[in-house]
């Protein structure tokens, strides 16, 4: 009892001394490894913990320290942890938890409108963002909300998009200097996508980057110019539903752009359809486009470039360069120059049957008869891709890029698509291959080349992200509920726990009282593991 009181007192004191999570603290997140200050742990998108309390040698002793049950369905939140307080989200909900016990400190929620409909995705939320004394949450009905860190009281609410037209948000916002950045979901509803920045203090919109260029803007020439399809850009898709990365030095925001609409029928949108299925680099102050790289021109398989871009430095032919790596939904791994977008290296990292390979500029050499068809076209990967929204991890310790890979194909169908606001605008879909093989794996790739170093096979394709740690470990989860640790150097399994629920989330690591913990949601329960808890 006395201990409990001391803990609360400690949280209270820290609340006064440490609540200000300045931009500078997030830039230098590696200097306070016990906290998890932004979606990917750092701005570079590494999802790597510098904590080394849990090691190859002692990980077998990992046990549940506490669990927290959410009232809603499958939980995909990636928590933020600051000085003993954990911030979590669920759809239109956020809460602060005592990171020692999981007990709730405050809870905020916003009603989901009765006429809200998710079009093409589950009702989930992938986490909050933090900056100064505020927590930022993106909602399904497409509002960005700023909450007081100590009470959960609303500071401001900004309308980002109209949910009645299919705009929605499931992502964790990205907070940079004075601004909070979000992107929208809705790529199956015929939206015109965008990425927005809001003033963190006031909620006023600072800039908007439309992912589909309008007439007269560069890139618009990649959309039909003449009747009857000259307006196809207006329903061209290009969602931006996964949190990007940020380089404070160049002030560039890196963000993946989703599929073109309608997804599986490209007849009404001839051309490359920029900036769908691309990575864009935007100026953090203005949202101006610095460069883009399109992974899948004129996509007809729903292969959003919905990934966390991983920023790193490496020598390329004897010259040290600033690079960005992406393991794409289209089954290829790419390394680009992050100042210019120049293609540096790329190769397939999973089974694919749609392209012969990449040319010298990184553009795919597409094989014939790979488009969806009336009778069905069998192809790898399936529409969810070889990997998708869940995060990869990069360990500066091993120089390896760890990615959760889904190995399954599907039969792609093409159908007519009529745009009706707020409804599916898909133009087809996929069907299972009867008795088709479905596998999964954690793969470790050389970050500069994409060469495979090791793989750990999974019973089935997983929806779990990957965390690497300075303890020489890689953590990930499985569809059957296993949460496990692998040797980061060899992929050898070292520990496993059956959570009892499908894992569809990203692991994080933090410490309280200098003791390291690892957290992962499984179905509707958040588990926190520690040594000898």
């Amino acid at each position: 009892m006395r201990h409990h009181a001391l803990w609360l007192l400690a949280i209270g004191l820290c609340g006064i001394a440490c609540a200000q999570v300045s931009y500078d603290r997030i830039v230098k997140a590696q200097q306070e490894p016990g906290n998890w200050l932004t979606y990917s742990g750092n701005y570079a998108g590494h999802r790597y913990s510098p904590l080394a309390g849990i090691t190859r040698e002692n990980v077998a002793g990992l046990r549940v320290a506490w669990a927290h049950q959410f009232g809603t369905g499958r939980t995909e939140t990636s928590p933020i942890v600051v000085n003993g307080v954990m911030y979590v989200t669920a759809p239109n909900m956020a809460a602060a938890l005592d990171a020692r016990t999981g007990r709730e400190l405050w809870k905020w929620s916003r009603p989901i409108p009765k006429d809200y409909r998710p079009i093409g995705f589950g009702q989930v939320n992938r986490g909050p963002a933090i900056l100064d004394d505020r927590l930022f949450v993106a909602t399904l009905d497409c509002f960005l909300v700023a909450l007081d860190l100590k009470s959960g009281a609303e500071r401001w609410t900004a309308k980002v998009g109209d949910y009645k037209l299919g705009y929605s948000m499931t992502l964790a916002p990205l907070a940079i200097k004075g601004k909070v950045i979000v992107g929208v979901s809705g790529g199956e509803a015929g939206i015109r996508g965008f990425i927005d920045a809001y003033d963190a203090a006031t909620g006023a919109r600072a800039w908007r980057f439309w992912t589909i260029p309008a007439p007269g803007e560069p890139g618009h020439e990649t959309w039909p110019q003449d009747a009857p399809s000259r307006d196809s850009w207006k329903t061209g898709g290009g969602s931006a539903w996964v949190t990007g990365s940020y380089d404070p030095e160049s002030n560039l925001v890196y963000w993946g752009i989703g599929n073109a609409g309608p997804d599986w029928n490209g007849d009404s949108r001839t051309g490359d359809n920029l900036y769908t299925c691309s990575l864009v680099a935007l100026d953090g102050d203005t949202g101006a486009l610095k460069w883009h790289f399109q992974f899948t021109p004129h996509d007809t398989h729903d292969w959003d470039s919905a990934h966390v871009p991983v920023l790193f430095e490496a020598e390329v032919r004897g010259v040290k360069r600033k690079l960005v790596a992406v393991a794409n939904r289209n089954a290829f791994f790419y390394v680009l120059d992050r100042s210019s977008g120049e293609f540096v290296a790329g190769r397939a990292y999973a089974k694919q049957t749609w392209a012969k390979g990449l040319d010298d500029s990184g553009r795919p050499v597409v094989l014939p008869h790979t488009d969806p068809s009336e009778e069905g076209t069998t192809l790898w990967p399936n529409l969810n891709g070889a990997t998708v929204w869940f995060s990869p991890s990069y360990s500066p310790q091993t120089g390896l890029f760890y990615v959760m890979v889904r190995e399954l194909g599907s039969i792609y169908y093409k159908r007519e698509a009529d745009y009706k606001p707020g409804t599916f605008f898909a133009g087809g879909g996929e069907g299972h291959i009867p008795n088709g093989e479905r596998k999964g794996a954690v793969r470790a790739l050389d970050v500069a080349t994409g060469n495979l170093r090791w793989e750990f096979s999974l019973h089935s394709p997983s929806w779990s992200g990957v965390l690497s740690t300075a303890g020489g470990l890689v953590f990930a989860g499985a569809e059957e509920g296993n949460f496990f640790a692998l040797d980061a150097a060899s992929g050898k399994p070292l520990w496993e726990f059956q959570t009892g629920g499908a894992i569809s989330a990203n692991p994080i690591s933090f410490s309280v009282d200098e003791k390291q913990y690892v957290a992962i949601p499984a179905d509707r329960v958040l588990y926190v593991f520690g040594l000898n808890p």
Partner: protein, 243 residues
């Protein structure tokens, strides 16, 4: 004047009562439902619909309500469709699971006696009676047609249910356990042997774990006379589920 309006309303009402349009239902299904349920209803992120009994929609009114209101939290309701469109989609969904009526030669009552005399109940439960090594057959006639049942009886390994796997595990001590896989994950496997006993193994504790692909413990019943086979098929096809 008001009578005319009433007539127009009645006409509109009559149109709403029109027979469902299967082709229109298919078009709506393929553009708005197939993303989750598969283009031919074989399932995807959402469940398969190409089966005669749908747990959330036991009757047509329930199916109408499921399509209209959705199922929280994953399935959106089709509030954008009008009543006739919903009924057309419902009719198309029902058509996905329809097993065409077929004429069967045998006699179900005689077939039940064949079922008992040939020992089928030693592995299968029907209406609460029998053993549970093999799948329950209480509703098998609602899921499979006569031709499929006949082929399964003659050549059981040719038509194994999706996900069915017969396995052989060899422990470190050298013991072999052979049985039906009841569950499996990356690290463990659970097997049911011929006595109905469950065995749980950590894969890392096994010397070997071998999938016996295209094998099943069910024997062939090719030795039945053609009359017995017709009767047995007819009996199995008559098993439509719990009353």
């Amino acid at each position: 004047m008001s009578q005319w309006i009433l007539l127009i309303l009645l006409a509109a009402g009559a149109k709403a009562q029109d027979a469902p349009d299967l082709a229109a239902g298919r078009k709506i299904f393929e553009s708005q439902c197939a993303l989750c349920h598969g283009q031919t209803g074989t399932g995807g992120r959402g469940p398969s619909l190409n089966r005669p009994a749908l747990p959330h929609a036991p009757d047509d009114e329930a199916l109408y309500q499921v399509i209209f209101k959705g199922i929280e939290p994953e399935m959106p309701g089709a509030w954008q469709l009008d009543a006739h469109e919903i009924r057309s989609v419902a009719a198309y969904v029902r058509s996905l699971g329809a097993i065409p009526a077929e004429h069967l030669m045998g006699d179900p009552a005689r077939g039940e006696r064949v079922y008992q005399s040939k020992g089928c109940a030693g592995c299968h439960i029907v209406a609460g009676k029998g053993e549970s090594y093999g799948p329950e057959l209480t509703g098998i006639g609602a899921r499979r047609n006569g031709a499929n049942l006949r082929e399964t009886l003659l050549n059981p390994a040719s038509l194994l249910p999706e996900g069915f796997l017969y396995m052989s595990a060899v422990t470190r001590a050298g013991a072999t356990v052979r049985g039906i896989r009841v569950n499996e994950d990356t690290f463990t496997v659970q097997i049911k042997d011929a006595r109905g006993e469950f065995h749980s193994f950590k894969k890392s504790d096994l010397n070997s774990l071998t999938p016996l692909a295209h094998q099943t413990p069910m024997p062939s019943f090719a030795s039945l006379s053609s009359g017995e086979l017709d009767d047995l098929v007819s009996y199995l096809a008559s098993l439509k589920g719990k009353p």
